[in-house]
């Protein structure tokens, strides 16, 4: 997205100023990097021997990190599938013509969204063991992730469906379609492409949130890193933490990159071009769910549209 509409293209003076700022910025940046490297070197952190451990199969480090990574993916994949199936059901509940159904699902969704994930995990662990249900750590993490993300997916689906012009529903109903048919045949085909970017960014958040499982003891990537540090001592702490962070960043960037490809293909679809014209006519402050203007926020609390 081009954000540079705030000012005209720079003239000779402006360009000179920009060059000056570039030089200052580069100097400051270099100074920071140099001082960080100097500090690390003075503590011996740049010693290649300390970094070798990450790549040496004999130390077992790559294997342990790989196993942790797989556990992270496993928890995230299970939670994603479950939350993506429960979320739309909740969304249908929130859009139901029945007032009671709307209120109850609304309350459940708000409850699940407002509570920290970590507290949900703690709650699940303590309350379930009290009830005598014995969950494995994996399912404990999955349960909490599903509870929270179903609520978030519900709000994404609801926002997407509500962003479709009401005339579409009215036209469908007037033609004698049932509500279900309108939803399947008219609303979802238009809403899903609009929701894709925000759905994907929520999936990235879900993947990141699996790392909270570390605090309740699920042995995912971060915990694998911790156990390696316990085993090899603090000598390699910096290297292992940075490796763990790098794996997360690389995975999430890959997901976002793949998703961008899919979204771009949708945008290129000829049917989209008619649809994408509509958000421009809606409230320019906050197009309901025009994906291009929506920030991937960690919890999309759609604050309600003011009714006109």
């Amino acid at each position: 997205m081009n954000s540079n509409f705030l000012y005209d293209p720079l003239g000779p003076n402006g360009r000179r100023h920009a060059r000056y700022m570039t030089a200052v910025g580069a100097l400051v940046g270099l100074a920071i990097v140099a001082s960080i490297l100097a500090q690390l070197a003075s503590r011996g952190q740049l010693d290649p021997k300390r970094w070798e451990i990450l790549f040496d199969i004999k130390t077992g480090v790559p294997q342990v990190l790989w196993q942790g990574f797989l556990s992270t993916l496993r928890a995230a994949a299970i939670a994603m599938v479950l939350a993506l199936s429960i979320g739309p059901v909740l969304a249908i509940g929130r859009l139901s013509p029945n007032r009671m159904v709307r209120l109850v699902t609304g309350a459940v969704v708000e409850l699940c969204r407002g509570v920290p994930l970590l507290l949900l995990m703690l709650f699940a662990a303590l309350a379930l063991s009290r009830l005598g249900v014995d969950f494995s750590l994996l399912w404990l993490v999955v349960l909490a992730l599903v509870t929270y993300n179903s609520a978030v997916f519900c709000e994404i689906f609801r926002g997407g469906i509500e962003s479709i012009d009401a005339g579409q529903t009215e036209a469908g109903l007037a033609m004698g379609l049932s509500r279900g048919q309108v939803l399947r045949g008219i609303l979802l085909p238009q809403a899903v492409p609009r929701m894709l970017p925000i759905l994907v960014s929520q999936m990235v958040i879900l993947l990141k949130d699996t790392s909270l499982g570390f605090i309740v003891g699920y042995s995912e990537l971060l915990r694998a890193g911790r156990s390696l540090i316990d085993f090899y001592g603090n000598r390699h702490a910096l290297q292992i933490y940075l490796a763990v962070a790098g794996i997360y960043v690389a995975t999430n960037l890959t997901i976002s990159f793949l998703a961008r490809g899919i979204t771009a293909r949708h945008a290129a679809h000829p049917r989209r071009s008619v649809l994408s014209a509509s958000p421009a006519h809606t409230d320019a402050y906050r197009p309901p769910i025009d994906p291009s203007s929506i920030t991937p926020s960690e919890s999309p609390w759609n604050v309600k549209e003011p009714t006109k």
């Binding site: 509409f5 570039t22 910025g25 920290p116 970590l118 909270l212 929506i294 926020s297 609390w301 003011p306």
Partner: protein
């Protein structure tokens, strides 16, 4: 109710800690986030690139990992943070600043090219354009996403429980150790406390939005 009275002191101080973490980290994130946005919207390519790289990397790192980096890796570059709660504030602030930046940037983008060009066509200087045209609209557009960011921040303060800070979630854990019989009602109260903050903030955001709304 009894559990609330028995643990009144612990829960009250835990609630205060959650509130303190959230406000301090929120201020830190707001300042850093706005600076990042300015860098990303500036005409200097290096600053644009730098801001974007920071946002992309930090936003794709789990908050738990950010905590570890702040607690264990920053001392290695000579930045020792004296207390756990201060470390938590730094970690939360560094992390949430990326979300603030994304929200503010989308707010500016929501104003649209036409408005900016019209302002310049009328002869506004950059300062006038920002002051009279862009910012009044962008600040309104930014209220709902910033409310979301704030609620996310409040929820994320719970991660500090894993790093030696006794806030609400850690208090729940502690009650489980000393008084496991009554931990479930205690947790219910803690959930209520979080919901009060979250729903209260959402309501406040909505009210502020309504108050500032203009007919167009």
């Amino acid at each position: 109710m009894q559990v609330l009275i028995d643990n009144a002191r612990l829960l009250a101080s835990a609630f205060a800690m959650t509130a303190r973490l959230a406000t301090a980290a929120g201020l830190f994130a707001a300042v850093l986030g706005v600076l990042l946005t300015i860098a990303r919207l500036s005409p200097v390519a290096l600053l644009q690139r730098g801001g974007a790289v920071y946002v992309e990397i930090v936003r794709n790192t789990p908050i738990t990992v950010v905590f570890f980096l702040v607690v264990f890796v920053l001392p290695q570059v000579g930045l020792v943070i004296p207390t756990y709660s201060l470390a938590a504030i730094v970690a939360l602030g560094l992390y949430m600043a990326t979300f603030v930046s994304e929200a503010v940037r989308s707010g500016v983008n929501a104003v649209g090219r036409d408005q900016a060009e019209a302002a310049r066509a009328l002869g506004c200087s950059f300062a006038d354009e920002m002051r009279f045209v862009i910012l009044p609209q962008a600040l309104r557009a930014v209220i709902p996403p910033l409310t979301n960011v704030w609620i996310t921040l409040v929820r994320n303060t719970s991660v500090a429980a894993g790093f030696g800070v006794v806030e609400l979630t850690a208090a729940g854990r502690r009650i489980n150790f000393v008084d496991p019989e009554h931990v479930v009602p205690a947790l219910v109260w803690i959930v209520v406390a979080y919901l009060v903050i979250a729903l209260g903030s959402a309501g406040a955001g909505r009210a502020l939005e309504k108050k500032l709304a203009v007919l167009r």
